[in-house]
């Protein structure tokens, strides 16, 4: 729903909240159900309402637990029956500077005392996080602190020992340090948000006096959007690709008319600078794992010439695919998605031409469209959109673009073979398949949350859950890494089986779509059966739970040679395989 994507009209969203909710819930889309506990240090009612809308719009149907007014500490540390039995998938702690207990309160306070107060304050929050982690081992989202609107001492407030702004800034640093150390803690940066919106607009003391809202009701949607961005990122609903137009989007002018010497790019002109800055801005997304592609109405020759402009910071090699042709742009985006093995709902399309934007919006409503009016505005829109919210950085993220580029090269090689298995053998594939290693836990958790298509049960695990499971003898765990002569794909497949006497229940079987049709799934199954035989497990039970996205594996267990036991009306199915009947299936990948 377009009105729920940044830039949105927050006041209108709140006014039509009930109607929007009804529309979303009846739009026929299937969403993952998640339990979200919101623990508040002030009123949270409308924050939860807005959060619900933004999550519904991102494919997540939340069920909420809401703490009693200002009972965030009690609920967390002493527990409450309501929260304990709710068993949240994620916890959002909505506290603000109104909840700081030890703010400096006199001019002659010493550095030691301020240190002590900071220490008491952070210990208070640490005790909340620790208690929650111990009980629920799930991700925790924690607001940091907004700066005050009133400063009795003026500028002194930001540097004097007794300054409140100074204290708040130090607290925010302490929170950041905690989040770096604690993989399950994520900061919702209301310090940035309140500054970006403006403290004058953010603060509304009367909303506090009347309703105990710690900010103006008009900024509640912004706050909720920010928290929702983290939540949807944690559940793998980020965008993956930025698909860019060229003329007047990556450079000023039209290359087919102005020629390579006539387009504006580089530091010579103001317009040129604006595009250069946009290039460096986009490169950062690439560094964090987003894929860049070109989607432009141009001759390919001209497109490549433009990207080889001496002042272009982006080169053709920065794009995993370049579609410069005269096809419709929605078709080019669909084709790009197909070739990369991604879905069009993970695309963000950027174009300066409103007509092109309108066509893509119309034909691919699931694709996010940014109409570039100026690069400055587009950069702000993208950065506030939450499309690429980062919650962790894995080696995989950093190398993603490279890996997809290698895939495009593989595709080219495939064309020179008529026999597919010959092509597979030509790749010289090697796999390492083994138990979860501590260093891989974060990548494994990330995969369980990101994989939608090649995923039999779509069961999501937090990093804490994966960690717990990784030393439980009641499970067989496999993760597989695949490399070939074009490069290393990294960890691409994860299997989790739960042992019940002589039966192994396959709770999770997923594979990254990067390595579709490479027989990696057979290599994984061979290894799984080998381990099962070693442990005296006679039977594997496979489960397929249908989602709107995992149709490609509906028949996977059949291809594996499992026998179908039952199906349900909604398309789920259960399968079994006796390990003594199994013969190895992989003969193109060298394992371990």
């Amino acid at each position: 729903m377009k009105e729920l994507v940044y830039p949105f009209n927050g006041i209108d969203i709140m006014r039509r909240c009930k109607k929007l909710r009804k529309e979303l819930l009846s739009d026929g889309s299937v969403r993952m159900k998640k339990k979200i506990a919101v623990l508040g240090g002030s009123t949270i009612g409308h924050i939860v309402s807005a959060l619900e809308l933004f999550l519904l719009n991102n494919g997540i149907e939340p069920e909420f637990y809401q703490s009693e007014y200002n009972k965030f500490y009690e609920d967390a540390v002493f527990g409450s029956d309501g929260l304990d039995s709710f068993a949240p998938d994620i916890i959002y702690i909505h506290t603000t500077s109104r909840n700081l207990k030890y703010l400096p309160d006199r001019p002659d306070i010493s550095e030691e005392e301020v240190q002590q107060r900071l220490n008491d304050e952070i210990s208070f929050f640490r005790s909340i996080w620790t208690a929650l982690e111990k009980k629920f081992s799930c991700p925790i989202i924690q607001n940091n602190f907004e700066l005050p609107l009133f400063r009795q001492t003026g500028n002194y407030d930001c540097w004097g020992l007794s300054g409140q702004s100074a204290y708040i800034n130090r607290m925010n640093l302490l929170f950041a340090e905690e989040a770096v150390r604690n993989n399950d803690l994520f900061i919702n940066d209301i310090n940035y948000l309140s500054a970006a919106i403006g403290l004058e607009k953010w603060h509304d003391p009367e909303a506090w006096y009347m309703y105990k809202y710690a900010m103006s009701t008009s900024v509640i949607p912004d706050l909720a959007y920010s928290a929702a961005s983290i939540i949807k990122a944690l559940f793998g609903r980020n965008k993956k690709v930025i698909s860019l137009d060229l003329d007047n989007t990556l450079w000023g002018g039209i290359i087919s008319e102005d020629g390579i010497g006539g387009i504006e790019l580089g530091t010579e002109t103001a317009v040129g600078m604006s595009f250069s800055e946009f290039h460096s801005f986009l490169k950062v997304y690439k560094q964090y794992g987003a894929l860049l592609t070109v989607c432009s109405k141009n001759d390919e020759e001209n497109a490549l010439a433009g990207l080889r402009h001496p002042d272009s910071l982006l080169s053709p090699e920065d794009f995993v695919l370049i579609k410069a042709n005269w096809e419709n742009k929605d078709k080019n985006i669909s084709d790009t998605a197909n070739e990369l093995g991604l879905l069009t709902d993970s695309f963000v399309f950027v174009d300066d031409n409103p007509a092109e934007c309108a066509i893509v919006e119309e034909q691919l409503p699931e694709t996010a469209v940014i109409h570039l009016k100026s690069t400055a505005q587009t950069m702000y829109e993208m950065s506030r959109s939450g499309f690429f919210e980062v919650t962790s950085v894995s080696g995989e993220d950093i190398r993603r673009s490279e890996m997809y580029s290698a895939n495009v090269k593989r595709k080219a090689q495939q064309k020179s073979f008529t026999d597919y298995s010959e092509y597979l053998r030509s790749l010289d594939m090697k796999a390492i398949i083994g138990d979860f290693q501590p260093i891989l836990l974060s990548r494994i958790a990330q995969l369980t949350n990101k994989s939608n298509q090649f995923n039999l049960t779509t069961k999501r695990y937090s990093e804490a859950e994966i960690k717990e499971l990784s030393c439980d003898p009641g499970y067989i765990r496999l993760c597989g890494r695949l490399s070939d002569k074009f490069g290393d794909n990294g960890i691409v497949s994860v299997v989790i089986g739960r042992i019940e006497q002589e039966i192994l229940h396959i709770d999770l079987w997923l594979m990254s779509c990067r390595v579709l049709k490479r027989d990696m799934e057979f290599a994984m199954l061979d290894e799984l059966v080998r381990i099962c035989r070693e442990k005296g497990i006679r039977k594997l039970m496979g489960y397929y739970y249908k989602t709107p996205k995992n149709n490609m594996v509906a028949e996977l267990y059949a291809r594996f040679g499992f026998a179908l036991i039952s199906t349900t009306e909604n398309g789920d199915s259960v399968w079994e395989l006796y390990t003594d009947k199994y013969t190895n299936k992989n003969n193109v990948i060298k394992v371990n």
């Binding site: 006041i11 709140m14 006014r15 039509r16 909240c17 009930k18 109607k19 009804k22 009612g45 409308h46 009367e206 006096y209 009347m210 309703y211 809202y213 009701t217 008009s218």
Partner: protein, 80 residues
């Protein structure tokens, strides 16, 4: 502001906030007449009305308004 114009626009706000297009407000309409008009929705209503008419209610007014008529008086006096 003219009262008949105000009541038309105010009615639209009520329909949106309570998601009920059949609502027809009158001067005597109060929280007792609309099922969903609880304290939480009251906050939402006040914000939406303030935005619609580009005005701000005083704290005393927010807690003191007894019915739509009193709200309309304030809107006619200060709304845009």
């Amino acid at each position: 502001m003219n009262r008949s114009e105000a009541i038309k626009r105010l009615n639209a706000v009520f329909c949106d906030v309570f998601d009920d297009d059949s609502i027809k407000i009158a001067d005597t309409t109060s929280a007792a007449d609309i099922d969903d008009w609880d304290s939480l929705e009251h906050i939402n209503l006040i914000s939406a009305v303030e935005d619609e008419f580009g005005m701000r209610f005083k704290m005393k007014e927010v807690s003191g308004m007894k019915n739509v008529g009193e709200m309309l008086d304030l809107i006619c006096e200060r709304g845009n």
